[in-house]
Symmetry: C2
Subunit: 353 residues, 2 copies
């Protein structure tokens, strides 16, 4: 079993990366970016890092629409043309699309070369870049193709967050909300307080949020049990995200925006099935009202979303498997939910928020 990648912060992070480069002497280094991280993050990154030879930069357009096998193949062909060998290093500098896709390509190029994640979005910092999940979408199916393979390290530098639009910060905060719900009352309260001050990314909170994810992945790197808790809000959230990506009627949502709706719905279901405390559900409603756009779904659309859920990767034997909550930090895995109750949850979202 692979050990999780070490996570380093700020100056210590760059020092560790410089040590790594000096010790490992990669034969070539490729920095993989999208146009946004190239414009806003690359020069800051290059200033902190000492390369023995000029690294090669490869950029793709930004956005979830790029996260498919075609982009992987283009990157693999580029790495081949650059004659990258197995002692080369790939550094992913960007948001979740860059760390997911770059990590996957590093895992399959010549049966695997080392890679390092330098996440630049809040979503990637607290979630995507941690834990070794890599992959790409197959049409509307999220992360249908991928592997679990740990990076050599994750380097966190919150300076990159300064360049992010508020909408992107809020999207990342959605995963921090999730970490609050699945961890402990204390961390959950800290998340709620931070949001009240409209300060969604204080340093200590980010560190704690990363620790929640790291500790869960440590227990169950291959997602056979407790790691499924990190899919809270994602069973419906992914289906909503997929639906909006392919729908003309509803504008695309950022990942965290879709997950926020998923958490509202799955928390309603948790209240109904497991007596999750309504008072905590209300706090979640307040957060989501404050930070995320409200989306109106009609009945046909909800039925399409439920249809999409049938392809969720956690499903077994044709059963959709939900993660639900009995209380803050009290997780129920592999739960089945009637479609009627899912319809009621959407009704609740429509009425309440």
């Amino acid at each position: 079993m692979q050990e999780q990648a070490p996570i380093y912060f700020d100056e210590q992070g760059y020092a560790s990366l410089n040590d790594y480069l000096a010790e490992q002497q990669p034969s070539k280094v490729v920095i993989f970016v999208d146009d946004n991280s190239e414009d806003h993050c690359l020069s800051h990154f290059l200033k902190q890092v000492t390369f023995e030879q000029e690294p090669i930069t490869i950029a793709i357009p930004p956005g979830e629409n790029e996260k498919h096998m075609g982009t992987c193949m283009a990157l693999i062909i580029e790495l081949t043309n650059q004659n990258l060998d197995r002692k080369s290093l790939l550094i992913n500098l960007g948001g979740g699309v860059i760390t997911d896709l770059g990590g996957f390509v590093a895992s399959i190029y010549k049966r695997g070369i080392p890679y390092i994640n330098v996440p630049t979005s809040l979503l990637a910092i607290v979630d995507a870049a941690i834990g070794g999940k890599t992959g790409v979408d197959l049409e509307h199916l999220k992360n249908q193709i991928g592997v679990i393979n740990q990076s050599q390290m994750v380097l966190i530098d919150e300076n990159y967050l300064k360049t992010l639009p508020k909408k992107e910060l809020h999207s990342g905060f959605s995963e921090m909300i999730k970490h609050g719900l699945v961890s402990s009352q204390e961390h959950w309260e800290a998340i709620c307080s931070a949001a009240k001050d409209d300060s969604v990314s204080p340093h200590a909170l980010i560190k704690d949020s990363i620790s929640v994810k790291h500790a869960i992945v440590e227990q169950d790197p291959n997602e056979l049990g407790i790691r499924k808790a990190l899919n809270y809000g994602h069973t419906l959230g992914h289906a909503i995200e997929s639906f909006c990506l392919s729908s003309d009627a509803i504008p695309s949502l950022l990942h965290g925006e879709a997950i926020a709706i998923g958490m509202i719905l799955e928390t309603y279901i948790s209240v109904q099935l497991f007596g999750f405390p309504q008072k905590e559900a209300d706090k979640l409603n307040d957060l989501v009202k404050q930070l995320y756009p409200k989306v109106k779904f009609n009945t046909d659309q909800i039925e399409e979303i439920i249809e999409l859920m049938m392809y969720d990767k956690k499903n077994v034997d044709g059963q959709v498997n939900f993660v639900l909550l009995e209380d803050i930090g009290a997780i129920a895995l592999d739960c089945q939910v009637d479609n009627d109750l899912i319809m009621s949850a959407f009704e609740y979202y429509k009425q309440t928020l």
Copy 2:
């Protein structure tokens, strides 16, 4: 680190597979074949195995030309359409293309589902199906894309060999010759004797050949050191195979036929650089003369082959890394060889064989 897959033979193999199916209760089973193994092996296989529900058969055309990412994507889409979940099982029933490609798809579909190899060619039995290497070609570059990921088990049934053309048996025997060269004088002599009787696949010899590979992979599953020994003959052999695949002037060679030429060339180089015994080199020449077609390369073609070698996956820092031999079973890793000496090796092949 993953443990190597257990290898089971004949009736014990089918019993182990039946036990596995009864214990693991996969939600669905897909049997992945090519048209040849579907025609000649599938019905024998199905007679030995007890499935709780009808398995799904997916077939592709035979041949190395199918071993690319396009075929992987078609298979992944088919698995998605069949709604295969993570508790499903993929059984690869076929030669090296089926076990390499099927193993790779199982490794990346939904971040990995279990798979089992049932090799039906001699090449796959003694080599491709063992050791967890999976992957596909990128144009002419062999196995440029893949992962190392062990199967749940390897089931060996030599009955499948009865349906193979002699040319295919000889191709597989080439890897057994390699196992002779890199292992021990005793095993090498056994290989030479078997070939003299034109009996390239007696049971005991196959078992020993598998043991050689298994023991080497056990020591070094990720090919950081000694596993490179199994690439003997492959640095030039792969380049020759790639060249012939894309050349109109020379007919395509089977993998083992190309590797046989590669072994002649690399053994000549071993004699020159490391004093490998000429008497053993002569025995190898006799084997190759007896079993494999002789190919005539002109100087331009040899230069193209040397060019192709630059893309070998073992290369580091732009250096082509050869595995050479000081004696039978005495391996020298990461050797550099002048192009002049490679040209002389081709001249030797032309004159001697």
